[in-house]
């Protein structure tokens, strides 16, 4: 295995760095007093140079020379400290220990903390593998690399954009649709997708930017279903419930009987009429709303959905947005006890001190549901 061979070679080299000086026969260490003398002589030479250049005058030079002379005398009198030879056997023991310590310590520590079987994984090499072996994420990264090199490839952006959307990278999806529109031209489908991506990135809120895209889509194709649906949803979000409901009904009227959209839109309308009217006893429901699901069925359907949500949250209690939806649902269904219960369970599940729990508490307070103390 190449790793072990390389590691062994490195260890060998490190051992040699210790072994070679030990194996060599040497003269006594360099003499400390000698090197002192050399320094002083150099100082004397420098003094002469300074004098010759006129940097110092003769009296100063004489004084300095006398001082250096005194130091030379002192140095010559010193005994050499490093001269003594020690006994060979203790030295050999230390030497043997040292040479053994290098491989033992390094292999021992490495065995404890290393991951010798994990290969390096440079990004480029990972992406260059056979596409069939790539994961979706690797394929996305691959496409990104391609687009970074060829940013004018509109088709590439258009292929990548919906994938971004599906894997939840809404910002990138919006950017990608923006590129696709810039390069391939504006079509209703692209504008709608852009609007949807922008809205998803904003957590479902249809922002002015998203709205602008949807308006462009409608200008190109006034009957575009998805654009109209999202515009209606925008009205609902702005609190213009009646207008929104009207818009939804207009869409419903245009839909063929078998369309899978019907249920969604019907639910949207019922949400609109259920939500705001929950607190306003005077507002009767629009009875002749063209073959809509009856109030009873609607309540049943919502009840089922809420129960489903509740079940899901029992399995996956970390979903803060889910808890908020659940509390709101119970409020809409006018079941205050269940709402308070859901709030208490949600706070428990999210951890009483956590930020998410605080958010949930605040959200519930906005709906008039307070946690039991």
């Amino acid at each position: 295995m190449p790793f072990w061979i390389t590691a062994a070679l490195l260890t060998l080299l490190a051992c040699l760095a210790v072994l070679l000086p030990l194996a060599r026969r040497r003269d006594g260490a360099a003499d400390g007093a000698d090197s002192d003398l050399a320094v002083y002589q150099d100082q004397l030479a420098e003094l002469d140079r300074d004098l010759a250049r006129g940097a110092i005058d003769a009296a100063e030079a004489g004084e300095a020379r006398a001082e250096i002379g005194r130091r030379i005398l002192k140095a010559a009198g010193k005994a050499d400290v490093a001269g003594a030879r020690g006994n060979g056997r203790a030295g050999r023991i230390v030497a043997t220990l040292a040479v053994l310590a290098v491989p033992l310590a390094s292999w021992g520590i490495y065995a404890a903390i290393g991951s010798p079987n994990l290969p390096a994984q440079p990004l480029a090499a990972r992406l260059d593998r056979n596409p069939a072996e790539n994961t979706v994420f690797e394929l996305v990264a691959r496409a990104e690399r391609h687009l970074a090199a060829n940013p004018e490839d509109g088709r590439g952006w258009e292929v990548l954009a919906p994938i971004y959307h599906r894997i939840g990278r809404f910002d990138d999806a919006a950017t990608a649709w923006g590129h696709a529109i810039r390069l391939l031209g504006s079509t209703a489908a692209r504008e709608v997708a852009l609007g949807e991506a922008v809205a998803s990135a904003a957590g479902g809120t249809i922002t002015p930017e998203a709205k602008a895209a949807l308006e462009r889509a409608l200008a190109l194709e006034p009957r575009n279903l998805k654009a109209r649906f999202l515009m209606a949803a925008a009205l609902a979000q702005e609190g213009r419930g009646d207008e929104a409901a009207g818009a939804f009904r207009a869409i419903l009227a245009d839909l063929p009987e078998a369309s899978p959209w019907r249920a969604t839109i019907a639910k949207a309308i019922s949400d609109l009429e259920g939500g705001p009217q929950a607190g306003s006893p005077g507002g009767g429901s629009d009875a002749d709303a063209g073959g809509l699901i009856s109030d009873k069925d609607q309540a049943e359907m919502i009840g089922e959905m809420v129960a489903g949500l509740d079940r899901r949250l029992r399995e996956n209690p970390g979903d803060a947005a889910g808890w908020q939806r659940l509390v709101r649902s119970y409020v809409v269904l006018r079941k205050p006890d269940e709402a308070a219960d859901a709030l208490a369970r949600g706070i428990d599940a999210l951890g009483a001190g956590s930020e998410a729990a605080a958010g949930l508490r605040e959200f519930a307070a906005g709906l008039g549901v307070n946690a039991k103390e």
Binding site: G351, G353, S354, E355, A358, E362
Partner: protein
Amino acid sequence: MTRKQKRLSVIGGAMAFLAVASGLVFYALGQKTSYFYMPADLQTASVEPGQRIRLGGLVEKGTVVRGAGTEIAFAVTDQVHSVRVAYSGILPDLFREEQGIVTEGVFRPDGVFVADSVLAKHDENYMPKEVADGLKETGLWQHAQ
């Protein structure tokens, strides 16, 4: 002067110098340091209007109001108590609602804290150390990880 006197005078000079320097340090430590408070601390501690302090906490949600020009008002909270803060100038990049910040300034007599500097940290996960400690003491914040 003898050599001994000379040496003594040099040492004496150095000592006098060090004495002056340390006097200056102690004076400055007494006058020029500012205490750090969380909103809850202010319930018990008495802080005179005009006394310079540092106030730390989270930017309370929904309280940031931009006034005319560069005026900004917001509240700093430790989730229990909060203090209104007025500031004029450019806020740091990482100033957001519910972000931990440290402000420095003085209280106006009406109880509004007038900040002349607002610090948020470089790191997006960062919670200023004092603020984190303060929140931990009150049990209102756990480390995200």
